[in-house]
Symmetry: C2
Subunit: 226 residues, 2 copies
DNA sequence: GATAGTGGATAGCCCTACTATCCAAAACAA
DNA sequence: TTGTTTTGGATAGTAGGGCTATCCACTATC
């Protein structure tokens, strides 16, 4: 196919496709003349993947670049691909705030028996959340500039129900992956299972919450009367 | 306190605080002279909340504005606040792509017995995920321009384990909220429980996945040999 | 032969979230 | 008192992200 069909089927403009080619997100088409090239299904699929990561997965173009570079590296193991996908959905490094809660996170991970690399971005992300929660939910009038002990281990135990629920899901995801022989399917499952399922889980939680609010209003249960 | 102390304790520059005031994210300080004003703990807490929503929650300034407008509206019910928080973490409206999967989502919600408002942004977000998954994981060479039946109900049943795990969590979150009398605590719990816990859940899932990968490599289980 | 489409390159655009500068008027320090 | 710092308020500018528009010399198609 040529540019017109590619852009029509992918739902993007040719200017965008050309830009993606220039920044290395997709390979050039096969040249057939000085100003002609043909594209195949792989180009189409790649663009759809990029759009899904950008629009549904809310990644930045830079994050997509790094993730696809990992996808295209045949030397990487499934765990490496997963690490790249995890890095892609983590907040950009440089935010050093919240690192004072890292010891709390590490204690928590140790208590759960999870072995996590020290440079795992999710570790710092979780620390940032706990740090923010500690700063915001401290004693009613939070006085001191940087409350050091407020981010105690007592705030981490509120993660338990979530970790309990997520752990078996994660195990099932990892053990249910395709065999290493089907590398293309395996890699794509890891990427989509990380980036898109993250959004699906977020949406499902919101839907479950909305339904729970609905139920709590309709069935007073004890606080409200008819 | 005056500007200097406020910015030192909040960790932002005075230019940023002035900008937040101008766009209505925080109220002006109480004027004591033509070019003097005093701020109190509420200002400080508000700035910390804004920074948490922006940096940890990854909201845009516009999303924070709309969410805080709901927070400041005493006429809104807890469900209304939750709806505002849900809207804040949803992808901006205007993305109409993925709407062809809305019937699948609606079927799924009906099957689960969840009652969801038709304009719920999470509903469209979930449809966008399913649509993207359907487009990307169709038959090996996806041929047609817009595969209409590929996004079948068969793809939705893979949500079941996640929905099963999230539903009791959501119920516990909603029923465990503070009473309506403590409006400030209630509203803040809803906002933080929605926006920040979303990030915490994402981080926990990545950590659980990393740990599961670690375990699957160390304990071959059947596919790999020592 | 007329019309539309193409590859490649460069420049420009819009948006977001600040940041820098300016000013006259306090505030504090010696 | 005098010098230095800080402040409120306003306006203009900036850096980065993600495209978009335009141009040109070709090809393709009718």
């Amino acid at each position: 196919m040529r540019m017109g069909e590619l852009t029509r089927r992918a739902g993007v403009t040719s200017a965008t496709v050309k830009w993606y080619i220039r920044i290395g997100l997709i390979p050039r088409g096969e040249s057939t003349a000085r100003n002609q090239a043909v594209y195949d299904e792989r180009h189409l699929h790649r663009i759809r993947l990029i759009r899904a990561l950008l629009e549904v997965g809310r990644l930045s173009v830079e994050q997509v670049q790094q993730l696809l570079a990992a996808v295209d590296d045949p030397a990487l193991s499934p765990a490496d691909i997963a690490a790249a996908a995890h890095a892609a959905i983590s907040r950009p490094t440089g935010h050093a705030d919240g690192d004072e809660a890292l010891p709390v996170v590490d204690d928590y991970l140790r208590a759960r028996g999870w072995s996590i690399a020290p440079d795992s971005p999710a570790r710092r992300d979780l620390a940032a959340v706990l740090s923010a929660l500690g700063r915001l939910t401290g004693p009613v009038g939070n006085d001191v500039a940087a409350p050091p002990a407020a981010t105690g281990a007592d705030i981490a135990h509120l993660l338990d129900p979530y970790a309990d629920a997520l752990e078996p899901l994660a195990v099932a995801e990892v053990t249910g992956l395709p065999p290493r022989e089907q590398r293309a399917e395996l890699v794509e499952r890891i990427v989509l299972g990380t980036v898109l399922m993250d959004q699906a889980i977020s949406a499902l939680r919101r839907l479950a919450q909305e339904s729970a609010f609905h139920a709590s209003v309709d069935l007073p249960a004890g606080r409200r009367e008819p």
